[in-house]
Amino acid sequence: MSIIEIKNLSFCYHKQKILENVNLNVEEKDFLAIIGPNGGGKSTLLKLILGINPIKDGSIKTFGEVPKKNLSKIGYVPQNTNVNTDFPIKVLEVVLMGHIGEKSPLFGYGKEEKLCALGALAQVGMEKFANSKIGELSGGQRQRVMIARALCAHPKILILDEPTASIDIEGQKLIYELLKTLNSYITIIVVSHDISVIMKYANKVVHVNKRLNYHDTFNLNKNLTHECNHFCEVEMFNVFKEVK
């Protein structure tokens, strides 16, 4: 059974069609990359999977049920992690936020939750920074903290929206290596512009621009002419067009 099943999904916003007749299956331990132009509906698709936007046309099932029922099984890492950097909050507290909504709120966090948060920080290699103020970290470090926050809730699926948008090359590599490690037991869905990086890590690529086109990276790789082991984004899009 697919853990995410999207059937004939369409979505309108202010009478404008954002998504049209989208079909997609995500299997366990997939590493799915979602690419496409800005305004093409990538973020909308994520919000529908996360149950933020209501579904009117078509259906989405996560773990065989409506998305709202399985929010706790999906970890989410938002796009912009550079907001609110003045906020007086420690790294550990940000990670602990992964636990909110699990039980009724009573006077802060328990010992077990703190241990779990420290464990999640260790997983992303940030345990040394547990007591640092979040604003003191670099963009890449902050992104890893956000991944730890999502891991804190022990998700089966991890969804990341442009995780490397404003991060230096070194930081990007660290994040993708981390995602690769996590992928051994977690399904990963990444929205990204960075196609050449995605090609190296993802096993499925979908191109979303109102409609969704599905690509298997294995077949795709065969269609590419590997010169110098690198291809630019323009070449990539050409290949996608041919595959369509």
């Binding site: 938002p78 906020f87 007086p88 909050i89 507290e93 936020m97 636990h99 909110i100 909504g101 103020k133």
Partner: protein, 269 residues
Amino acid sequence: MENILEALSFPFIQNALIAGLLVSMASGIIGSLIVVNRMVFLAGGIAHTAYGGIGVAVFLGLPIFLGASIFAVLAALIISLITLKHRERMDTFIGLMWAVGMAVGVVLIDLTPGYNADFMSYLFGSILAVSQNDIYFMAGLLATIVFIITFWYRDILAVSYDSEYANLRGINVRFFYTLILILSALTVVVAIKVVGLILVIALLTIPVYIAEKLSNTLYTMMILSGLFSSIFTLIGLWFSYEYDIASGASIILISALSLFLFLAFNKIK
């Protein structure tokens, strides 16, 4: 020194000190939430709308605190509603409430026959006229604030830091946003007594700004803000007594001077 001891023997000075400390703690805690949630302008709107409530209370012969509280809480609820429907036009609506609230207050006080109490005291504070009942109200509010913040600390922290994520985790962001606004409204009402509605913004932001720079958790920021606010209030009151100047303005100037010294010291360091 003798001067201070003599002053402390007057009941109205004792009341002023107690009120000053209670309001400082409340405004330190709530001011921290207002600042991290970027709600300073909202708090200003609520404070000035509350003046309408003061006018209504004077006109109908009701307790002033009651009128101001009802108007302030109503303003908080309206702001919460606007945030939901017309977030992008927020500043226009708040500006509107700000002015209309003031106008209602001025007109109703004018219309009240024989009412010639010094209504400047609501604009600039009247801490020396704090009554025993005022103090009970302030203490009750502070206790409520401390309880609510301790009880819901993790949710309030999550909503303030990253409301999108909190929403995703099933937290009722609107409930907490409204709760913060209502607590702000009530804090503004008691702070009006101490520094007046025009200066209330300074009390909610200056000590908080210094505290923010020195804290790495919201919790420490709240405690430090309350502490700084208390110190500024005490020193301000002393100046006010010693040199016979308005207490509200004196407190704010001491706060601003401290902020200036803090910034200068940080620069040199």
